[in-house]
């Protein structure tokens, strides 16, 4: 057998040595940073539920985490703050599950897109269709809703200009959109708020090319107004709560994650200022046998999140090795885990199967 490219590669390149015969706690070189993140780097976070973990860990480690829509200090306790959408991300976005939602947010905040349906009124309360969970009981008046919306848009514009690193977690390909103008909603109308009307809303499963186009639009938009901006992409390892396709939820999840992972890879390969952090792989790899998932096989355990973030911090700043979390960090993480907000989970309550 003559010389070939597969000879003398590092251990990480071989499945048997790099994965199968190694404990996941001994995995090395899963991630090599593209650029430095210093404690001065202004970091903002947005995306689907898993991004909350990243933001929380960055904040806890003393990184320069930005909050453009902070809670009043009078509102005490993270549970209550999270209930009203504060301190989950760098502004009160709620979860941004899809790339189209992120694109739409910047378009709306800059006044370039005004959805035909901007508010849902129900029983005298006013709900934001694009972030229904940040005011769970709705706003008390239309004026209050508009004031909050303008404040939010202002925060989004500030974030676009004053962020050095945007951490964005791609969450879903599936969404519900308006038949009238294509507005995309984070949640199906009629779940958290609003009334479902098949004549007004339709299901959309975004394709690779659509998601890539949306993300490229976001990249172009952000770097035009903030040329120094860098992006760190992750893909949420959290499976779909439910699918609206005609596929089994496992098949739909695999499609969704595959597409999102491919988009993140394409962007990371194409742009030197976009990095990809493989939290998805670390959590969902077959070699971990699902032990980073909670018993529901969906949400990620605290130990899993801590483990993932150790890989991250081994490259960014603290120099620690990505070994198993200690009981102490597990406990700290458990406390914080209670506060993760995932609006999509409401879909599980609609199952009629026990």
């Amino acid at each position: 057998m003559g010389p070939n490219p597969y000879q003398n590669l590092p251990v990480r390149n071989y499945w048997r040595q790099g994965v199968a015969s190694a404990s996941p706690f001994e995995w090395r070189d899963l991630y090599s940073k593209k650029f430095d993140i210093s404690t001065k780097t202004r970091v903002s976070c947005a995306g689907s539920c898993f991004a909350q973990h990243v933001g929380r860990h960055l904040r806890d480690r003393g990184f320069n985490y930005q909050d453009f829509e902070p809670a009043p200090s009078l509102l005490e306790g993270s549970e209550l703050r999270h209930k009203y959408g504060y301190e989950i991300y760098s502004a009160r976005f709620g979860n941004i599950y899809t790339a189209r939602q992120l694109r739409q947010l910047f378009l709306r905040a800059s006044g370039k897109f005004v959805p035909s349906e901007q508010v849902w009124e129900q029983d005298g309360r006013f709900y934001d269709p694009f972030r229904p969970a940040v005011e769970p009981e709705g706003f008390a008046s239309l004026a209050e809703f508009k004031a909050a919306q303008e404040l939010h848009f202002s925060a989004v514009r500030h974030m676009a200009r004053r962020t050095d690193l945007l951490v964005f977690t791609l969450g879903l390909t599936e969404a519900w959109v308006s038949r009238t103008d294509g507005s995309v909603y984070p949640m199906c109308p009629g779940t958290h708020a609003g009334v479902f009307d098949a004549d007004k809303y339709e299901f959309k499963n975004f394709s690779y090319s659509e998601i890539l186009a949306d993300m490229k639009w976001v990249v172009a938009y952000l770097t035009r107004i903030n040329p120094r901006l860098k992006l760190l992409l992750t893909v949420s390892p959290v499976p779909l709560v439910a699918t609206a396709t005609n596929k089994h939820v496992l098949v739909a999840t695999t499609y969704s994650k595959s597409v999102l992972r491919a988009v993140a890879g394409t962007l990371s390969d194409e742009f030197d200022f976009i990095d990809y952090f493989p939290s998805y792989e670390i959590i969902s790899a077959p070699a971990t046998r699902g032990f980073f998932y909670d018993p529901n096989l969906r949400t990620v355990t605290d130990a899993g999140v801590t483990f993932v973030m150790r890989h991250f911090f081994s490259e960014h700043g603290t120099g620690e090795s990505p070994s198993a979390p200690t009981p102490e960090t597990k406990m700290q993480s458990n406390l914080a885990k209670l506060e993760v907000v995932c609006e999509e989970e409401i879909l599980a309550s609609f199952s009629t199967v026990g």
Partner: protein, 250 residues
Amino acid sequence: MLIIFGDSHVKSLKSGFDLLPDRAAYDGAVKFAPIGPFPRFLTPFFAKTSKGITFTKGSLRRLYLEGTGDEGIDAGTDNTYVFSAPLNPLGLLCNDDWNHFSPPGILDKRRTISTAVMEQIVLQHFNPLTSFLKAFIELNIRCIVVSGPPARFDNVLMARKASVEARRKIDEVCRATMIRTIENLGLAVIPPPKGTFDEYSNLLPQYHHERRTDYHHANSDFGMLLMKDILAHIGATKAVPDRKVATLQK
């Protein structure tokens, strides 16, 4: 026995009581215990036992004993307790948050918070006091909540950068939220007497405290009017010594 106790506003109730023309009819039937100041009630301050309620803060315990002769609130008596504190908005009004945030409905350069968030802030702020009132209900002790005087929005202690409109709105939401909460518990609330405040909920000048630099408390005249309302509420306006206690216990 009628026990009127709570924050520093109890002092004007006591001086107002002394001005009542028929004050003598209540001799020995009304006791006053100003055990404030108000911030003492914003952190846990009491313990409930099967026999009653005790104050866990030494200063409250001492002042309550001084005013009433009792160590604490005894569930075994037929006393009626009138409590002043759960409608005192000063702690919220003085918070520096209002230099950066605006209450609902106030659109200025600050970050306007929603009504729901504001109500949560109020409920959190007054939580130790709400728990205290719940203890009365759980022990089946008669209790009424009395309001202090309407706020003075020229109070120099209030958040420096908050506009008068913002201060008024904070006061309004604060009072409305707490009145609703207290009434939902099944307790009565005695508001400031009619005619003591203007259309903007400002305490009228004739009821300002005798000391000019006191922007927070009302004077004895205000106290007298509020005492009349308290007594009218209890139905004891014509009590005589023998009937007095029984009347006050209704």
